[in-house]
Symmetry: C2
Subunit: 348 residues, 2 copies
Amino acid sequence: MTSNTYYTAAQHGEFEVYELGDLVLEQGATLRGAQLAYTCYGKLNEQGDNAIVFPVMFSGTHSAMAPYVGEGLALDPSKYFIVIPNQLGGGLSSSPHNYAAPYQANYFPELTIGDDVRAQHQLLTHLGVTKLKLVTGWSMGAQQTYEWAVRYPDMVERAAPISGTAKTTPHCMLYVDVFCEALTSDPAWNNGRYDNSEDVEQGLRRMAHVFAMMGASQGLYNNALWQNVGFSSQQDFLKGLWENWFLPMDPNNLLCMAQKWRSGDVSLHTDGDLAAALGRISAKVFVISFEKDMFISPDDCLHEQQMIAGSELVSIPSAWGHFTMLGIAPEDFQMINDTLKKLLNTSV
Amino acid sequence: MTSNTYYTAAQHGEFEVYELGDLVLEQGATLRGAQLAYTCYGKLNEQGDNAIVFPVMFSGTHSAMAPYVGEGLALDPSKYFIVIPNQLGGGLSSSPHNYAAPYQANYFPELTIGDDVRAQHQLLTHLGVTKLKLVTGWSMGAQQTYEWAVRYPDMVERAAPISGTAKTTPHCMLYVDVFCEALTSDPAWNNGRYDNSEDVEQGLRRMAHVFAMMGASQGLYNNALWQNVGFSSQQDFLKGLWENWFLPMDPNNLLCMAQKWRSGDVSLHTDGDLAAALGRISAKVFVISFEKDMFISPDDCLHEQQMIAGSELVSIPSAWGHFTMLGIAPEDFQMINDTLKKLLNTSV
């Protein structure tokens, strides 16, 4: 267990911790005394059926998704009981950097998207939730969204996976490998046995550059659209946004999430038959795709959407590519919010 | 000067060497006793006006482009005198790995695309060439194509830059930085003072992965189109094509070319005014763009094509992305060849 002041309420806002007990993971290990960090907004009604789950992306916490929650927005806490669960391995829940021997640091067990969703289901059941009006999430949050809709079809009324896949694509696996190599090539990483995460600064900066290159479109850079959000040069944008994002994080946490991302696959429920897995979904689904996304191409989203009965594809053209979700351009935030609102207003 | 059996005629086919003498570089250094390696096909006519120049891409040699030359093809040696010049720094011409002290290895001077084109112009003048029916090249070859058309407008009748830019885009600079970091992060690189290039194997493999990720489209991987060309798995494709390509190369040569790629900019001729530089072109220009290219997006090609009077844009939709040029899919080769033939048949 190493200390890292980044993974605190001071950095991410207050959160609750649910004691999962001994969580038997899909890959076989048992995470004893596992903890799930989460935040809630709004009130659960008597029937327990006004809940929304909004899981988070790679390297993110509840705080990254919180801007989408607010009165008058789609995710309106005056109407819904909204839960943002943090990922296992994400730094606030049980994670490599905060877990005890013998499973600490690089010995933390392999996780699956299914482990996250099972843990979240345990929490929601404990809270009295019976139905989910909506599950939505971005990127790894979309992976969890698909997992929810496939694993608990009777509970999920609507689902909006945003720029993420039910089954990680081969190209996306290569992407994960490339950014992990950028990180682990730092000799200071030392097979995960660094003393302080800051020692791995060079690897974290390199990883940030890979994210920057793939995370926003060519047009974002070539038209210097970083100017619109207060950066003075491309160099300033790389440092001020991308390096600044990853530098305070724990490399083992990042690698744990990356491995989970890479292995995401709802077809594990159906002996590898993706169409059969997606065929289990009874929720009304809006698949939200970002046109300029290099992590998850529009074709990847379309491919899966076509296997989901009654689903719709919504395509958003922003130059921010995969990072359209951050809503840095107000029109992007608006389109995503409007899409979620429309889905919530669709009767099921 | 280090030995590397990769940079030999045994590996790349026979080639000629032109003695450039003392080449004063645009950045100020003098490359004394500079050599330009090249191959020729066909015969120069009496007037010296049936020549074609076909410069090569990053990490390539004349052998990579040779398949586009042949009787019945656009680049037909029974009609044209075709010269394929190797890049300075590319390993066969004067390069970090083969140059003498004090400019050897990582002390090799910075090159520009203009240096290549000036050296090529010196060669062609020596050979008696007066007019170029066509200049064409892919990627860094396209950079040289633009430089030819801007620098020597009276000599260049037609130009076909293929998936490359007249001015390197900011996103492409980031791409170059990312793959250079993948290479130089290897401690064995040792600031360019390795004993043998094979010592930098890990960095070369990592760099190959970055190229693989950005060089072909998501769809190439996600539809396992590597099966069409004899690979048994994605892993086999990464090793058999991409790692195999870069592993025998010299890291300092690659970094020398990368720096030249990054700094490519025809607007240096016109005080930074790109439209003015492209306005100097009198050649008939076909800009060839690859729709799924992540190095050079179709928008990047369009942006420059629109600044060239009388030019046309030809878009090729292959899943091979930037590496469409390799013609691994026969229809890609055919479309590129047909486009060059059409341009050669256009009167100017």
